[in-house]
């Protein structure tokens, strides 16, 4: 083969590689997004009572209710009652419910707002909801950050899958970061997904793979990697501390911190905020 053909083949390969790489990069390759109308907003008489959707069908509590049926149920996660007094009713809104047949709304495996520590997430009252489904190492905690704030956790089941739902959200664009935390407290690199949640519809994000990522925040990394207040978390407090020093000369004390936890260039720049965002725990 002549040198010319070899060069041509190489250049073609380089071209293909460089054009393909960005599309393959990241961790969203296995993820699929679908938007579906819940049973109470799908224009169908799902429970054959001749009444269709919310508010006509009294079995519907809202447009995002996925059950038109109003038959009395003795199962806690399908009885239209807030059995554990957490402000959420039944599956899927109450994250203590694994399914409509779960007889306990109490969420020993699931919590809202406590995952990454910090103050509890104040809940919005909106008409959008999102469901996450994927795989994660069995028995490990799967957490989700919503726009950088802890929004809930669930324990991956024995078959290595997890399902998590956030409801009553205001419609709009959200950044969700799903991560795994092991028994020692090591936090693994997240899968970050930005999606648009429309009003009165359910968004399902499936195929999230949390089994491949490596440890990002080892349990012994307190005071490093952006942890400016040494509380072992990277959150709004660290962001606020860094923001204070943005475009200001650093104090001697903070200069030491900047060298220890940020880029170490003696000033607070966008690069330092990028480090915070990379190690963010919420």
């Amino acid at each position: 083969m002549s040198k010319g053909y070899l060069l041509g083949a190489f250049s073609l390969l380089a071209l293909l590689t460089l054009y393909t790489l960005p599309a393959m990069a990241g961790n969203t390759a296995t993820v699929s997004v679908s938007v579906v109308a819940p049973a109470c907003n799908d224009g169908s008489d799902n429970d054959a009572d001749l009444l269709v959707d919310y508010p006509t069908d009294l079995g519907c509590s809202s447009l995002i209710d996925n059950d038109e049926s109003n038959a009395a149920s003795s199962v806690e996660c399908d009885d239209d009652a807030d059995n554990d007094a957490d402000g959420e009713i039944d599956f899927p809104a109450d994250l203590g419910c694994d399914s409509l047949t779960d007889d306990s709304e109490a969420g020993e495996a699931v919590s809202i707002g406590g995952g990454g520590g910090g103050p509890p997430l104040a809940r919005s009252v909106g008409d959008a909801q999102v469901f996450f489904e994927g795989i994660a190492p069995q028995g490990l905690i799967v957490g989700v950050l919503m726009d950088g704030v802890s929004a809930g956790t669930v324990v991956a089941s024995k078959d290595g899958t997890f399902a998590l739902n956030l409801s009553n959200l205001v419609s709009g664009v959200y950044l969700f970061s799903l991560y795994v935390m092991d028994a020692k407290g090591n936090i693994y690199a997240p899968v970050s997904l930005t999606v648009r949640l429309p009003a009165n519809l359910s968004v399902y994000i499936r195929g999230i793979d949390l089994t491949q990522n490596k440890i990002r925040r080892p349990v012994n990394s307190c005071g490093k990697q952006g942890d400016l207040n040494n509380d072992c978390k990277i959150d709004l407090v660290d962001f606020s501390i860094a923001s204070y020093w943005w475009q200001r000369p650093l104090s001697q004390e903070f200069n030491k911190l900047e060298r220890q936890s940020l880029s170490g260039d003696g000033k607070v720049t966008l690069e330092d905020f990028s480090i915070l965002a990379y190690y963010w725990t919420g």
């Binding site: 699929s32 204070y244 104090s251």
Partner: protein, 294 residues
């Protein structure tokens, strides 16, 4: 032939970096309105499939022909603003913005699995005088989500403006239908590490998915609400105070949250406690000595 191949090889390596690089893009790219009309442009960030977690940009507009009115960040992909864009520098015709996306942004995933560009901010201008000019990003960079601070210079973008002499009515379109206040939030009193005038600060943050957050106001005890930013550094004499934080969106909807400041132990307090301790201990020892003497 060799020359041709060489050129192709060089282009194949170089072109993708320009063609596929992350960019900021205005939409629409041209706008033609009459005097008195409104111009609304969206600034989008297209990461081209790579993950970025911090962005900063400087937007310039021809202040001799248009006037900045409102900037909405309700649809923005930026979760936390270091510098939220506003028109406070209207007379200079420039707007600075910078913010972060914890976890990184690769694009908005749509139902087809495609990654779409994300909105950074929506700018609304009033066409004040006849003329032509450009709204443009003069400098912009984004940082890759790699933990190393790798910088990417963003490709520039512009909107070509043509303000015609004919009069147009102002539609004043911005968010008349937004009646939703900003999201609930929890103001926190935190130890403020790293110096400054105090050891404590008030930090707060919320979002608004409608018109977008405009500003915060802080009120301490019986005082007045004053425009402030997070972090709000607290003086040590604020122990026990009730602080109210008001978040106001672009449409004017408000949400107020409050927090009570705990008692601060300053160096002076600790010194006073130590002195009192020493006195009490001395008295006790003196008393005990006297007691056992008799």
């Amino acid at each position: 032939m060799k020359k041709l191949l060489g050129t192709f090889l060089t282009l194949s390596v170089v072109v993708p970096f320009f063609a596929l690089g992350a960019s900021l893009q205005f939409a629409p790219s041209t706008e033609s309105v009459g005097r008195g009309g409104n111009i609304t442009v969206d600034l989008f960030f297209d990461p081209e499939g790579e993950s970025f977690n911090a962005i900063e940009a400087q937007v310039h507009f021809p202040y001799n022909i248009i006037r900045g009115e409102t900037i909405s960040t309700g649809k923005s992909i930026i979760s936390l603003w270091i510098e939220q864009p506003n028109f406070s520098n209207n007379s200079q015709g420039s707007v600075s913005l910078s913010g972060i996306i914890p976890g990184g942004f690769e694009g908005i995933i749509d139902q087809n699995g495609e990654l779409q560009a994300g909105n950074i901010a929506t700018f609304s201008f009033l066409a004040a005088h006849e003329g032509v000019g450009n709204i443009e990003v003069s400098s912009a960079r984004a940082i890759k989500n790699d933990g190393k601070g790798t910088v990417a210079i963003l490709a520039p973008s512009r909107v070509a403006l043509n303000i015609e002499g004919t009069s147009a009515s102002s539609s004043s379109l911005f968010f008349a239908d937004d009646n939703t206040p900003p999201e609930p939030f929890v103001p926190q009193i935190v130890r403020f590490v790293g110096g400054g005038d105090s050891d404590y600060a008030l930090v707060f943050h919320t979002t608004d998915k409608g018109s977008g957050l405009d500003h915060y106001e802080v009120k301490i005890d019986g005082g007045e609400f004053r425009k402030e930013k997070s972090p709000y550094i607290l003086s040590s004499d604020r122990s026990g105070s009730i602080i109210m934080v008001k978040a106001v969106d672009v449409a004017g909807n408000e949400r107020i949250e409050s927090v009570r400041v705990p008692f601060f132990y300053t160096t002076l307090h600790l010194f006073a406690i130590a002195i009192i301790g020493v006195i009490v201990l001395s008295l006790l020892l003196w008393g005990a000595k006297k007691f056992f003497k008799y």
